[in-house]
């Protein structure tokens, strides 16, 4: 179980509470069913870790829509979590504060040690872990999942935003990341995607137990994609699309985009090309991003170094 000798390592407190969230977007079906199954079958306490499964947006899940009033996964900034709620407040704003009470409060000692939020995308991103600032726990779990799922490319995406501005659910936990799995259409449950995500969650639980039991996890390096900017669709004066993602870019998330490479094909047959720095596209043709004016995101590859860690002994 612990292949490494005791070595120089950074010691960190045990991680004894773990929350798995699904249905933050009500039509992202993997998380909805994973949480339902965990509520039915997973022991509330697995060894040293107590596990909570939470259906984050039950109203949106019932309607099988991303959200009812506003995107729940944009409601977790410090400012929104402390804003007053009235009868006319969007449902998701008050739900975010409820979740913050249950799993947080964000930034406090009482917050859950690790929060993992399950999402799907219509983009061909495979299995990705998405996180904010560089966090050694998250990087170790990422490295561990990669090592346990060698036939599955697992990518890491970093959004360089300070925690107070961090708007998504996983920022409520002391440590947190989102698992993003695709491609899967909204409202559809694919067995291959479900099995892949379930395995990643099981490995996360196994890592937590090994960590708490005293294993040292050797540090190292991981390559992550750091968000730089996003690109919108070409639109006409009325704001309607005049082009679709080019067939050469469609489904090619994480493949390097060089200047001159095709990115859009207009309805009249012209090719629009990428200009500027060589970057890596991701969230290519994500359904929910049309209304956010995003056709795809662009990222640079960054290498993060992290130390060996082990649990602090009292």
């Amino acid at each position: 179980m612990c292949p490494f000798q005791k070595m120089e390592c950074v010691s960190l407190p045990p991680l004894s509470t773990f929350a798995v969230c699904g249905g933050t977007h009500g039509n992202e079906m993997t998380g909805v069913y994973a949480v339902r199954e965990m509520e039915k079958h997973t022991a509330k306490k697995k060894g040293s870790v107590s596990i909570t499964a939470v259906l984050a947006n039950p109203r949106a899940v019932d309607a099988c829509r991303r959200y009812t009033d506003t995107d729940l996964n944009r409601c977790f900034t410090d400012a929104l979590l402390s804003s007053p709620i009235t009868d006319s407040s969007p449902y998701e704003l008050s739900r975010a504060q409820e979740l913050n009470t249950q799993l947080g409060p964000k930034g406090s000692e009482k917050a859950v040690d690790l929060l993992v939020d399950l999402h799907n995308t219509t983009a061909n991103m495979g299995l990705c872990l998405i996180f904010y600032s560089v966090d050694w726990i998250t990087l170790h779990i990422y490295k561990y999942i990669q090592s346990k799922m060698p036939s599955m490319p697992v990518k890491a995406i970093q959004l360089d935003i300070p925690i107070s501005d961090a708007y998504s659910l996983e920022s409520v936990g002391k440590h947190g990341f989102a698992i993003e799995a695709g491609p899967q259409p909204g409202g559809v449950l694919r067995a291959d995607i479900f099995n892949m995500v379930k395995e990643a969650v099981d490995h996360t639980i196994a890592w937590l137990e090994e960590f708490n039991s005293g294993c040292t996890f050797e540090g190292g390096e991981v390559e992550a994609y750091t968000f730089i900017r996003s690109v919108d669709y070409p639109r006409d004066q009325a704001g309607e699309l005049t082009a679709a993602i080019h067939p050469k870019l469609q489904d090619n998330d994480f493949q390097l985009l060089r200047p001159g490479d095709p990115i859009f094909l207009t309805f009249s047959g012209e090719t629009v090309k990428h200009e500027g720095e060589e970057l890596y596209p991701f969230f290519v043709n994500e359904c929910a991003y049309y209304e956010k004016k995003i056709a795809f995101h662009l990222a640079r590859k960054t290498t993060f170094t992290f130390p060996s860690i082990c649990v602090a002994k009292d």
Binding site: E37, R65, T122, D192, E240, Q250
Partner: protein, 313 residues
Amino acid sequence: MSSYHNSARLSQARKVAIFGGTHGNEMSGVALVNLWTKNGAEIQRRGVETKPFVANPKAVEKCCRYVDTDLNRAFTPENLSAPGGDDLPYEVQRAQEINRMFGPKGSPEAYDVIFDLHNTTSNMGCTLILESSKDHFNLQMMNYIKKAMAPASCLVLLNEHPLLKYSTSRSVAKHPVGLEVGPQPQGVLRSNIFEAMRVILKHALDFIELFNEGMEFPPCTVEAFRVSERIDYPRDTNGNIIAMVHPNLQDCDWEPLNPGDPMFQTFDGKTIHYQGSGTVYPTFINEAAYYEKQQAFVTTRRETLVASAIRKA
């Protein structure tokens, strides 16, 4: 060229409509109709007036399948004659309006042809949906389209099942033609899917033009898949799904499913096998919109349909 002895004489197809957005989140049709409303040059043909039309504008606005009820199930005789005006569900009102504009269904004034553009999350490729095995005009059109698209595939789905057939928006026309292209997620516009649908319509309109100009189409056979049975997900007593489409069946639309083949997989990995009596050809496998209609997929049987020769009267 000699005439065929049993050539059916059919009237010229003068009024043709192309419906997009019957389901507001099926984006190929929405985008094509918007494009052709702005500039309809591509869909003009001699001798025929072709009208692009957004069937469910409120659903398109909200990018959802429907607002109150599924428009593509709403064209029942009861709905079309229902009194109540503004109190009726939005899509029932809309069905009545569409029936006035493009029908009335069953009358001589009805549009000759309506093409209804749909997308599916299922891996169905290009599919033409036929509502009657005796519609020789449609059979000839579908034969023409298939040959024009070859070697690219374009399959014909026949839904004439007395219980499983439904009252579609296109059914107000004399010759209703469904176009179903997938896989494409709801709310997403894929370039390859958009262009494929565009090509199907190009061939369909070419056929209509040739027919209207007097071309005789000899007798032909059309291979079709006839809808046989609807198969739902295994569910618990509360109606919740307890298994997923099996990875071996997922994306395998139109491939043979034999008794004993894997069909569903439970959340803890157990396989549920197909228990039918013979080989079937499943389609609409894992269509997002059909979870609420209790359908994981439909089974079909292969059949060869025969079309008589046709010629403009």
